[in-house]
């Protein structure tokens, strides 16, 4: 088990920066989730830890070892791939045992460890099958068992659940969380699914365009976003972001005035409020009135979208709430739960 340290690491291909000047410290036993849209540099970051990609500049440490020039097999890591990366010509047993075989672990010892790893992910009855004879979830378990058969210093997981169907993904997510709790191996987990990030992570690193936007525990990323990108990326439906101005502590935009924001006067700001922090009330009872654009029942709640000065603003209402499209309702805003951003730099304005 080990910590991981990035010092000013950059990865570039010609003029394109995959990762730019990244400083990152992953603590021992931590479960770090790298989250971001495709092409944000999260996978590149992980592949540099694995040694499948070489950094263009900067230093990477695993434990106390500078690993920049260390080949993958000496790094003592294990990785789970998006498409599982199984060996189709080998049985499940041989797939799981491959890291041991390569390292010359004696057969008897290896068999014991294969059985133990397979038992941990409930693959016992499938050991003699070929990967092609397994379902997607079982294949993912084989990949998992292969990565934990050797108890590596670091686990790397590259979107391991993205090929599974929605229901299985939730089950496997819980299993991963349980496994990490049991094994306590430092893990870097790459995903574009914010739900996985929120549920699994000790800390979430939100990345965009090769730059780390915010690195914090999940609740902090959700409740205290560092900038507009993080605010908009985390949460579903995503945070409402309305461009306007601040006049004597009141936020003003076309069709909206939200008092009690504070911070004096300022032009070119963006007000951010999560749908779950807006309440639908009777006309005239809220901060502003607006016509309903659409109303969607998701089961656990009702998503109500309003038309506010030509923009769409979404509120999450009670699951028993019903309204007609075109009906004018009031919208109540809790100013304490509103975020203010600079429209030009997209950085958070802290009041």
């Amino acid at each position: 088990m080990a910590s991981i340290q990035f010092n000013a690491v950059t990865k570039r291909w010609g003029d394109f920066f995959g990762v730019r000047e990244l400083d990152l410290a992953v603590a021992d036993q931590e479960f770090l989730v790298l989250l971001g849209p495709s092409g944000c540099g999260k996978t590149t970051t992980m592949r540099m830890v694995a040694g499948l990609e070489e950094p263009s500049s900067g230093e990477i440490f695993i434990g106390d070892d500078l690993v920049n020039d260390m080949p993958p097999r000496e790094r003592d890591i294990a990785m789970v791939f998006q498409n599982y990366g199984l060996y189709p010509h080998m049985s499940v047993r041989d797939n799981i045992g491959y890291p041991l075989k390569v390292r010359g672990i004696p057969r008897e010892d290896a068999q014991k460890r294969i059985d133990a790893a397979a038992a941990k992910v409930e693959l016992g009855p499938f050991l003699e099958r070929k990967p092609a004879q397994l379902s997607g979830g079982q294949r993912q378990r084989v990949a998992l068992a292969r990565s934990l058969v050797r108890t590596p210093r670091v686990f790397l997981m590259d979107e391991p659940l993205s090929n599974l169907d929605a229901k299985l993904r939730v089950t496997m997510r819980a299993e991963l969380k349980h496994l990490h709790h049991e094994l306590r191996i430092t893990t870097i987990y790459v995903t574009h699914d914010q739900m996985e990030a929120m549920t699994l992570a000790t800390r979430v690193g939100v990345m965009n365009k090769g730059v780390m936007q915010q690195l914090a525990p999940p609740e902090e990323v959700y409740n205290d976003p560092a900038n507009m990108f993080v605010a908009g990326f985390i949460g579903s439906p995503s945070m409402n972001l309305v461009h306007g101005d601040l006049v004597d502590g009141t936020f003003r935009a076309e069709g909206v005035a939200v008092p009690g924001i504070g911070g004096g006067s300022r032009t070119g700001v963006v007000l951010g409020i999560r749908p779950e922090d807006l309440r639908v009330v009777g006309p005239g009872q809220g901060v502003f009135d607006a016509p309903v654009y659409s109303s969607e029942l998701t089961g656990e709640s009702t998503l109500v979208t309003f038309n506010v000065g030509g923009r769409h603003v979404c509120a999450r209402g009670d699951r028993h709430f019903r309204c007609e499209i075109g009906e004018v309702v009031g919208v109540a805003v809790d100013p304490q739960r509103a975020y203010l951003f600079d429209a030009a730099t997209e950085n958070r304005i802290r009041l």
Partner: protein, 296 residues
């Protein structure tokens, strides 16, 4: 409107519709007969010479020139072919040594080259690959003479080495190209997984790439064997007595009194037998290879 409604609820066959359907059926039947006819004709064109060779091989010297298909088959020709005065046994040995050596040398080279062309980055990669393929377009006849001169200077005329070298030049481009196609289809992830699991580059090739490209490697090997086994032109010009390959050996049956057709045919069958078995293996492995595929 009414008619539509009825036809939707319960199909009514009008006499006109029935006639139309009958005509369509008749047209399909005629097309089918034509199709089968054309296929049979083409098949006959291909099969006839082979059938003729097989029959000739079992005929006595007297019946060879008759067109009858009712004759008393005999195995005398096969016995006669191995009579030491024709030297066919030695030529079977020669061809076997040359073809096997070529395949055994060509396949490891081709796998390495194919892997490099598929996975590695190196200067002039594209150009090199194109040139390797371009060598296939040079008519063999045009380079036979330089080869002859070269081997004479090297003192290699009438040796296995000379024929193996030439055959390697003939089969390698094809083998590299075939195997590269199969390696291209292997997902990179499997290789990366093996690297992370602790395998060296060579180990990855041996443990992961070779087994997954097996159908391609096997196919390439068999085709290389067939090409080499049947090679005539270079074998004819670069050998005298010791290294004469089997197809060239047939020339020995062209006597002053005329060709000995029944012995030529018998030798032809001996040449064909390994091809026949290889064709079966290829067929089996191809269907297997397609089922194996990559696991997603």
């Amino acid at each position: 409107m009414n008619a539509v409604a009825t036809s939707l609820s319960r199909p009514v066959v009008t006499p006109e519709a029935a006639r139309r359907r009958q005509r369509a059926q008749r047209r399909r039947a005629v097309l089918k007969v034509l199709e089968v006819g054309v296929l049979l004709f083409v098949a006959a064109l291909i099969v006839f010479p082979i059938a003729w060779m097989v029959m000739t091989a079992f005929k006595t010297p007297i019946t060879v020139y008759s067109y009858t298909i009712w004759f008393q088959p005999t195995l005398d020709n096969f016995r006669e072919v191995f009579n030491p005065r024709w030297g066919i046994a030695q030529k079977v040995v020669n061809s076997t040594i040359i073809a096997c050596s070529t395949v055994v040398i060509a396949i490891p080279i081709a796998v390495s080259a194919a892997y490099a062309f598929s996975r590695l980055q190196f200067p002039l990669k594209r150009v090199t690959f194109q040139w390797i393929l371009l060598t296939q377009f040079i008519p063999a006849v045009t380079i036979v003479l330089p080869f002859y001169v070269m081997f004479r200077k090297l003192g290699l005329l009438d040796t296995y080495a000379a024929l193996i070298i030439v055959d390697l030049a003939i089969v390698l481009p094809y083998a590299i190209w075939t195997i590269k196609g199969f390696i291209d289809a292997i997902p990179l992830e499997a290789e990366e997984a093996a690297i992370i699991d602790g395998a060296s580059r060579l180990r990855v090739i041996w443990d992961i790439v070779v087994p997954m490209a097996r159908p391609g490697i096997l196919t390439a090997a068999i085709f290389c064997f067939i090409l080499t086994w049947n090679e005539f032109l270079f074998g004819y010009l670069l050998s005298r007595q010791k290294a004469v390959p089997l197809p060239v050996g047939i020339i020995g049956f062209l006597l002053e009194r005329g060709p000995v057709w029944e012995l030529i045919a018998a030798t032809g069958i001996i040449i064909t037998i390994p091809m026949f078995f290889f064709a079966l293996i290829i067929q089996r492995h191809f269907t297997k290879g397609m089922n194996l595929g990559a696991v997603r």
